[in-house]
């Protein structure tokens, strides 16, 4: 393992950004989000979770993929792609897990070329969490705050320095390219990091357990709960906004739209949300999910029942974003607890 002293981070940013677009958690007006790093940005590696997860790096909120021109009834179509290597530095382990869940959707047959290209072009560096907060519950999904198996490089914040471990070929390559800024980590330093990791995981798991945020069994229980009264108690307070889905690292729904001036323009895909009224609204005016009740149910059923039935895993990584940001506290942790409660009640 390697390490980098924190004083050298500015040089690291410079060096990385000279070879690729460098996405870092950048603070602006009190909000920390991933953004392409520019000289003078205030990088915040302490903030636990960015408001918007780094899914917008691999799956941008708006992505033009085609240009067109209509001329005398003739149609010209050209693919449009913004290519380029990038480095994503500072994704939390839950963020990385979120990306691997997106992988399942976009990389399954037929593979989504736009997405897979972005995945190939990027190197993901994850920073371990030393202090998960009250809304975090990644351990409920068998994730570790101190470890992101899907990251190319894993980094632990040890105070004055970051311990640095390449976990993939891409990671090795990037490590090699910034070797001048790294040092070998001593045996004790590695041991200290691994101990820290174990401590944090144990503490976090205990906290989540105490809250009753245990999803085991929920995917089975929910199979019979489509018509359950439980949705009644949740949906009324929902504002029907898009916060919970837009800031969720696992939500992958998108819309496709054209823009144009005269007869020339582009086509893009952009995030969409099952919480919006027009998500399933058909041209005929019919809507299979006409009220917030069906829409709220869809969100939780998708994450906790449908996705697991297709891919074996929950579509939630316990990042706590919806717990922190839903303006009316309609979050997945409460649903897990309630549904889990249904199960133990009937046993």
């Amino acid at each position: 393992m390697k390490k980098i002293v924190k004083d050298k981070l500015p040089s690291l940013w410079e060096q990385l950004s000279s070879q690729a677009t460098l996405f870092l958690p950048v603070e602006q007006d009190g909000v920390v989000n991933f953004a392409p790093w520019e000289e003078g940005d205030s990088v915040n590696l302490e903030a636990l979770n960015t408001v918007v997860p780094p899914k917008n790096v691999v799956f941008p909120q708006t992505e033009t993929y085609m240009r067109f021109k209509v001329e005398n009834d003739k149609l010209h179509i050209e693919p449009f792609e913004q290519n380029g290597p990038y480095v994503l530095f500072g994704a939390r382990p839950c963020d990385v897990a979120g990306i691997t869940l997106l992988d399942k959707v976009f990389l399954q047959e037929p593979e989504d070329g736009l997405y897979s290209r972005r995945r190939r072009e990027g190197t993901v560096i994850s920073v371990a969490c030393n202090e998960p907060d009250a809304a975090c519950f990644c351990t409920s999904f068998e994730l570790e705050p101190g470890m992101a198996p899907g990251a190319d490089i894993m980094v632990w914040d040890m105070g004055d320095y970051l311990l640095w471990k390449a976990q993939s070929e891409k990671g090795e390559k990037l490590t090699g390219s910034v070797e001048n800024l790294l040092q070998e980590a001593a045996e004790e330093e590695q041991k200290a990091a691994m101990e820290l990791k174990e401590r944090v995981t144990a503490k976090e798991a205990a906290a989540a357990q105490e809250m009753g945020w245990d999803p085991s069994g929920v995917k089975e229980t929910l199979k019979d709960m489509f018509d359950s009264d439980i949705w009644e108690q949740f949906f009324r307070r929902c504002l029907g906004c898009g916060i919970c889905t837009y800031i969720c690292p696992t939500c992958h729904c998108f819309d496709i739209q054209d823009y144009s001036k005269d007869q020339e323009g582009g086509r893009f895909r952009c995030w969409d949300s099952c919480m919006f009224a027009d998500f399933t609204l058909m041209g005929s005016g019919e809507n299979p999910r006409p009220t917030r009740k069906e829409r709220v149910r869809q969100r939780f059923m998708h994450k906790l029942c449908y996705y697991p039935s297709n891919f074996g895993l929950y579509a939630c990584v316990g990042c706590g974003r919806c717990v922190r940001k839903c303006p009316v506290n309609l979050d997945i942790a409460q649903v897990i607890k309630e549904v889990g409660g249904v199960k133990s009640g009937s046993e």
Binding site: C251, C253, R269
Partner: protein
Amino acid sequence: MAQNNLLLPQVAVVEEISTETSDIKTFKVASQGGGSPLEFLPGQCAMLSLPPVGEAIFSITSSPTEKDYLEFSIKKTGSVTNFLHEIEEGYQLGVRGPYGNGFPLEMLKGKDLLFIGGGIGLAPLRSLINYCLANRGDYGQVDIVYGARTPDDLVQRAEIFDNWPRASNTNVYLTVDVEWEGWDGHVGFVPQYMEEIGFAPENRIAVTCGPPIMIKFVLEGLERMGFKPEQVITTLELKMKCGVGKCGRCNLGDRYVCKDGPVFTYAELLNLPPEY
């Protein structure tokens, strides 16, 4: 480098447009170099692109045995379809697909087939009907019950009045909802007519498509006639964007209609949330 961008359409030409009813037209679409732009199975769909208006998904109404073009029967319902109704022959549009599972051809082999269609719902059925008639030996008796609100709302008139009734071992039963001047055929709703005629469920598969309310009564009628849910097939229509199970828009429970559908047996639908 353009990678396998699933969402990228190919350019195709509208070769022929025929007016079916006051709000339905059928479009023949071929590749720029001629020939069908896609290989597909009956019951599958394709996404038609009309930049700058957008894209929409339609079932392919021609049979795969027709190699020269694809046909789409399209009713005016929104911006893309309104625009389609304005274009003229020779207009170029984008096509991508085919999407969906298509009808279970293996399961239909050797069976008597009962088609029940309403209005524009004939479109997906027609692909299968013509496919079966082109491979006549593989199927038993073919019965087609088709209706619309008025005689003017019946589509594919050449086929329903001439071609299909003339095919061997094939019956066509037409009906309209209301009495109409010049119409001396049957008057009444499709589900009732189907029951009046009466079809035995033995060795028969029913395939139905039409407005949701018609499908509902057809399913009930079939059940009364002794059809089991496994013997009944229908095809669904939901809002779709990607066509490949990624945009998350068209799910019924854990199934995506664009990918795992649009064709389902009634037995399968009974196990899925009724969000259609």
